[in-house]
Amino acid sequence: MLIPTVPETKPIKLSVRNMAFSYGEKKVLDGLSLDIHAERVTAIIGPSGCGKSTFLKCFNRIHEVSSAVNVSGDMLMDGVDIYRGGIDEVDLRRRVGMVFQKPNPFPKSIYENVAFGPRLFGVSDRTSLDGIVEDALRKAALWDEVKDRLKESATGMSGGQQQRLCIARALAVNPEVLLMDEPCSALDPIATAKIEDLIGELKENLTIVIVTHNMQQAARVSDYTAFFWLGKLVEMDLTERIFTTPRVQMTEDYITGRFG
């Protein structure tokens, strides 16, 4: 589907071929094929309910936790099939981090939320943990707000703070791929700008896939943009081309808000 005209220097990190997805009998995604390059930001846009979150969750297989799902086709990470290639889903999720659409902090302290992942990997000495927690909170633009109340419960934070905490929590385990499902939908413009800066920094050594309803944000942060509609990929291209000279009329209509 995607054949960039400028030479892409980064290798393909994630590759999807003819993928279809259903929750039980309900088909949500169909005939998807696309490539996601390492150290690039790929934005996924499309109207509500078109399957963006579902698509994102396919990369860490997290929907298997609470739903009966059916996936067909190929999904490869570094050339290995993440469904049939013998990868353990727990290992997969350690490499592919996720920030969910709705913030879901654990009912623990702020500190324990961020330290949760590192603790799982066996980091237990206090100084290393403190360092990881501070670093992650700083990256998520939350450190200054919470540094004096790390022991307080995370569930008492505002929605925007909770979302940034979830970003920090995901960063603390140092994933190879970061899936972000509308990470800024609950954030004010200042925090949004900080998160967008963070995305720019993170892509130095991380592959990012971000779902957003904000066209300006997609244009600002992403290198590639994929437009989904009713569970199908309509068009994927370099972001600047999607936003200037899309090949499909529907894409242009959606981006310019003339959709429907």
Binding site: N60, I62, V65, S66, V90, D91, R93, R94, G97, M98, F100, K102, N104, P105, F106, P107, K108, F116, G117, L120, F121, S153, C166, R169, A170, V173
Partner: protein, 371 residues
């Protein structure tokens, strides 16, 4: 209240002025339609006469409402007072009879006892005027604690399994089975213990004699309270949002790590409540325990004497007694007003207070950890 100035301050019409919903719109409508009828458009001084609020149907309407409210209020109040009164009455009755053991009260047949010779003595021989109830206190705490130690982990893990792992058909089946089991009368568990469990372990390497004692009683009690704990902890886990589970596993926890590190802590207040309810049922249980515990008030002494077996086996399989079993055994055989009878009431009072304290303490524990 000033009723004349209704147009300027429509809210002032409302008698009592506290409830907002019902009468307001009617009154407003009445007063507003009255304006054009009288020439309208006048200044504040030439304001038309508005039907007095007190005569409007809305007012009467609201008055009947208020009356109904008052009656409902009264009914609820008297019901709760009745319940509180009953509970207080029972406490008073227990206290007056129980405390009579320690004070020289008119109509008391026996002597007044010392607190220490009742609560700090293990020597129970009422016919020889010795009333140490320590064996029963220790018995109650021991058998309930042991039962909870078995039932709480088993019940909570079963709850996790039902809520988070079992396929839908099994989940429904298990829930129904648990709800059924909760309703089984305790005497059935007692019979099961007496006719199945006891013969099974009696005269084995566990117990060289009949195996009555803490072990079998605790197992029977645990079986009895497990359905309650399972049922409540299943609810607790099902009420957790699946996003919590997903969040934990998205960070690379295994299913069990997510359950252990996130779900169980998140559900802790409700799990504690489940355990307390189980505990309450266990500590008050007399029937089932009485059938298998052996009913031996002298169990502490007996345990001290026999040295032929390993201490923990001795502790588990010595015939013993608890506050409830002793009450059931002896209360019918004692004369009201006798010291013996009074001490039994004191045991009842203790049971009452013990339950209260346990419940309050665990509540506080649950609340403190939640924050």
């Amino acid at each position: 209240m000033p009723i004349g100035s209704t147009l300027a301050h429509p809210a002032g019409i409302q008698p009592g002025g506290s409830r907002k919903a019902d009468p307001m719109p009617d009154v407003l409508e009445t007063s507003l339609t009255a304006v054009p009828a009288n020439g309208g458009g006048g200044s504040a001084e030439s304001r038309p006469t508005v039907p007095q609020a007190a005569e409007s149907p809305a007012f009467r309407h609201s008055r009947t409402h208020r009356l109904a409210d008052r009656w409902a209020h009264l009914a609820f109040l008297s019901c709760s007072l009745l319940v509180v009164g009953l509970i207080g009455g029972i406490l008073f009755f227990l206290a007056s009879r129980g405390l009579a053991a320690f004070w020289p009260v008119a109509g008391n047949m026996g002597r007044a006892l010392h607190l220490s010779e009742v609560f700090l003595s293990a020597d129970w021989a009422p016919s020889s005027d010795r009333f140490g109830i320590l064996p029963f206190i220790a018995g109650s705490l021991g058998v309930t604690g042991l039962a909870l130690l078995i039932a709480a982990p088993a019940g909570i893990l079963t709850g996790v399994f039902i809520a988070k792992m079992a396929p839908a058909w099994m989940r429904n089946l298990m829930r129904q089975v648990m709800d059924l089991l909760v309703g089984i009368p305790s005497v059935v568990y007692g019979i099961f213990g007496l006719t199945v469990v006891l013969p099974l372990v009696s005269h084995t390497w566990l117990a060289d004699a009949p195996a009555s004692g803490f072990a079998v009683s605790a197992v029977i009690l645990a079986v009895m309270i497990v359905p309650t704990i399972v049922s409540l902890s299943t609810d607790a886990f099902e009420s957790l949002p699946s996003s919590l589970d997903e969040g934990a596993q998205a960070l690379g926890s295994s299913r069990w790590q997510a359950i252990w590190h996130v779900l169980i802590p998140a559900a802790r207040p409700r799990l504690l409540t489940a355990a307390v309810l189980g505990l309450g049922r266990a500590i008050g249980e007399a029937m089932a325990v009485q059938m298998v515990i052996g009913n031996n008030p002298q169990w502490i002494a007996l345990m001290r004497e026999s040295t032929d077996r390993a201490p923990f086996l001795r502790a588990l399989f010595t015939p013993a007694a608890t506050l409830t079993t002793e009450l059931v055994q002896e209360l019918p055989n004692t004369a009201a007003g006798s010291t013996w009878n009074n001490v039994l009431f004191a045991m009842g009072l203790l049971l009452y207070l013990l339950t209260m304290v346990l419940i309050l303490a665990t509540r506080r524990l649950g609340r403190g950890k939640e924050a």
